[in-house]
């Protein structure tokens, strides 16, 4: 007896995807390619000793940031953890300011004060880039609370990794989100591993991590993160629930990272995961390859166009390296700015009392 394969849902025909113009589809494809090229380039220069600290690469997860953030309107806001480069580019930050930040330069998005884990662009509704696992989950709650308080019809997409679901701050946030009716959508980017510990070794759950939302009377869903159309179709439902009904959602998007937790994670190949596992994802679930096949079948994209997009992204990333290398480093005087709003703005309050204690 053979069991019939489940009929895949046709996410391409969901209204939110039907509304995409061919140009917009190619743009979304390009965004994913740009993220991958940016990350590949960053890896090269990280290994070349041009950057300090950690480097958490987004390669393999591109459809999550691009798919979800593509749904954002004027009053929708975004916040994530330390694997933040994909979200930064997806909200429209430039490669130059991002690369320069990792090079520790004045022209970086955070003036070289934040580094790889701490990209910010409030003008694009992007609130970081946060280094402590799940530390951003109450902040995402607060951004959404703020929207509701200020009477704006928007929501906050708060991204977190599968390792973050076991932090207390996340559970406190879920309870408050449900209790107060906060328009926040928690997006668990489940790449299967909290650093080197697999999901099964780190989390207790029934069917999946998002199901824990039931305990807080919160709606939840699971999404195949290799399919950008599915990401958009299901995330749209959650965002509308937030905007229109002031209700939170927990989404779990299954995805995969090709590289380690950070580049310093040397045991990601052959240590806690097998080369076969990585290869299987690349062959069958790579979000860029999957979307490329879909768009070629739709007649929206050609191989020639795809090649051009890749070359352009590679060139853009190379140019960002040049920009970063040629940019000035922060000065010693820069260490003492951006600590207090009042002193930066030279207000009368800032002139009263001693704020800093160097000598």
């Amino acid at each position: 007896m053979t069991s019939a394969a489940p009929i895949p849902l046709d996410f391409a025909s969901s209204p939110i995807n039907q509304a995409l113009t061919p140009e917009r589809k190619v743009e979304l494809y390009s965004q994913m390619v740009r993220i991958r090229q940016f990350e590949s380039t960053a890896l090269k220069y990280y290994q070349g000793g041009k950057m300090s600290g950690f480097l958490h690469l987004y390669i393999g997860q591109e459809a999550v940031a691009v798919g979800t953030i593509s749904l954002g309107g004027a009053d929708d806001h975004f916040i994530t953890a330390y694997r933040d480069h994909g979200h930064a580019l997806a909200v429209g930050m430039g490669m130059n300011e991002c690369m320069a930040e990792m090079f520790g330069k004045q022209t970086g998005c955070s003036k070289g004060k934040g580094g790889s884990m701490h990209f910010f662009a409030p003008d694009k509704n992007f609130w970081g880039g946060h280094g402590i696992v799940a530390g951003q989950t109450p902040l995402g709650l607060g951004l959404a609370y703020g929207l509701k308080y200020l009477g704006r019809e928007g929501c906050c997409l708060c991204f977190l990794g599968d390792g973050a679901v076991n932090q207390g701050a996340f559970h406190e946030s879920l309870n408050i989100a449900s209790l107060f009716g906060i328009p926040v959508v928690y997006v668990i980017e489940n790449n299967g591993y909290s650093m080197g510990t697999s999901q099964k070794r780190s989390s207790a759950y029934n069917s999946c991590l998002a199901q824990r939302a039931e305990a807080y009377a919160i709606e939840w869903d699971v999404i195949d993160g290799s399919n950008l159309y599915e990401v958009r179709a299901k995330t749209h439902i959650a965002m509308e629930r937030a905007r229109k009904e002031q209700k939170p959602t927990v989404l779990e998007i299954d995805t995969y990272r090709y590289y380690g937790h950070s580049v310093a994670d040397s045991s990601h190949k052959g240590g806690y995961r097998t080369p076969e596992e990585i290869e299987n994802y690349k062959q069958n679930h790579d979000p860029i390859s999957v979307f490329k096949r879909i768009l070629i079948a739709e007649g929206v994209l050609t191989d020639v166009m795809a090649d051009q997009i890749k070359v352009a992204a590679k060139n853009e990333a190379a140019a960002s390296v040049k920009f970063a290398e040629e940019s000035p480093a922060p000065t010693i005087a820069d260490i003492g700015t951006d600590v207090y709003w009042e002193t930066d703005n030279n207000t009368s309050a800032s002139k009263i009392g001693r704020h800093f204690f160097n000598d």
């Binding site: 955070s110 709650l141 607060g142 308080y149 951006d338 207090y340």
Partner: protein, 328 residues
């Protein structure tokens, strides 16, 4: 015309005035609304301002303080009550990694205009977990501001300054002071604001300087009376009021005047506020000192419960007098 108010009423009046002044000010915390506040600081404010402006939260300090920080980045101005500052530890990541650092890590792109307030004191028989005194701890984080009012007038003036400040300000109150009374300027005479960073000379003297903050100011004033009446020593009492920013000029001025100083600080001795003040004095007024800088801190152990002995662990007039007599 000033009126006599309790410290609690003065705080409440300050909160009420700021709720009226700015529609983005929102009070939140455990029991602050319908219960009227665990220590009744916010009594009546929920009834007056309603659910939107005065918000009861679950017992989730990391959750609601983080929520306030996130909302502040969008322009809301949350004033969050910790039922006890001792509970800071369950929200520590939010208080120091997010509130203190988000402006810096974003290169100045994010602002965090929050206030976190509540009592931070020993002396009430609630044991070590509820008796932490963390003003020195938080003042050690660049990006944060800390103030500690000792009187009703300062409580009102500082809470208003804290709410209007565009940086995170942690206001540390005192359950043993909530019921104390003092003169507070009448609102009809204009806004009563005490700027952060301005110390206040609570008693003029000539022989020794007692530098204190919070309830230690009250203890120092009592000690000064004993020193005067029983020992003929005329002590000056400087109330720091604000820990960061700190009024270094006022500290140096009184030291240069009396040439002897005893720091009175309810913190524990290691790295407390008084340790920093001692550093400033030796660095900038070394030649004016006629004696070593002395300190009266809480005795160096977790807060003891026993009501028979608890007051002896804290700075009190007897301990202050004894310490002054070693140098004056």
């Amino acid at each position: 015309m000033s009126r006599i108010l309790t410290y609690r009423e003065a705080l409440r009046e300050g909160l009420d005035e700021e709720l009226a002044r700015d529609s983005n000010v929102v009070l939140m915390g455990e029991e602050v609304a319908q219960y009227n506040g665990a220590y009744k600081v916010t009594e009546g404010l929920w009834k007056k301002w309603g659910d939107k402006r005065v918000v009861d939260t679950p017992i989730s300090e990391a959750g609601f303080i983080g929520m306030g920080i996130g909302a502040s980045m969008l322009g809301v101005r949350p004033v969050m009550e910790l039922m006890f500052w001792s509970f800071h530890s369950v929200a520590f990541d939010q208080l120091v990694s997010n509130a203190a650092c988000v402006r810096y890590m974003s290169g100045g792109l994010c602002n965090c205009p929050i206030v976190v307030r509540g009592p931070a004191n020993g002396g009430t028989g609630v044991g070590a977990t509820h008796s932490h005194i963390p003003e020195g701890l938080f003042a050690a984080f660049p990006g944060l501001k800390v103030c500690v009012p000792a009187t009703p007038a300062d409580a009102k003036g500082l809470i208003k300054a804290a709410i209007r400040d565009n940086d995170p300000v942690y206001v540390m109150e005192n359950t043993l002071l909530y019921g104390t009374t003092g003169e507070v300027p009448d609102p009809a005479d204009g806004d009563h604001i005490v700027p952060l960073g301005v110390a206040d000379l609570k008693r003029e003297g000539t022989d020794v300087s007692l530098i204190a903050h919070g309830r230690s100011v009250i203890q120092a004033l009592a000690a000064a009376e004993i020193l005067q009446s029983e020992h003929g020593i005329n002590a000056e009492v400087l109330d720091l009021r604000s820990i960061r920013p700190i009024d270094q000029d006022a500290i140096l001025k009184t030291v240069m005047k009396t040439n002897k100083v005893v720091l009175v600080d309810e913190s524990k001795p290691f790295g407390g506020v008084s340790a920093m003040v001692a550093m400033l004095i030796q660095d900038h007024a070394f030649d004016y000192l006629d004696a070593p800088i002395k300190r009266v801190c809480s005795l160096d152990a977790p807060a003891i419960y026993s009501p028979h002995i608890e007051h002896e662990q804290l700075p009190n007039p007897r301990r202050i007098v004894e310490k002054v007599l070693t140098i004056a």
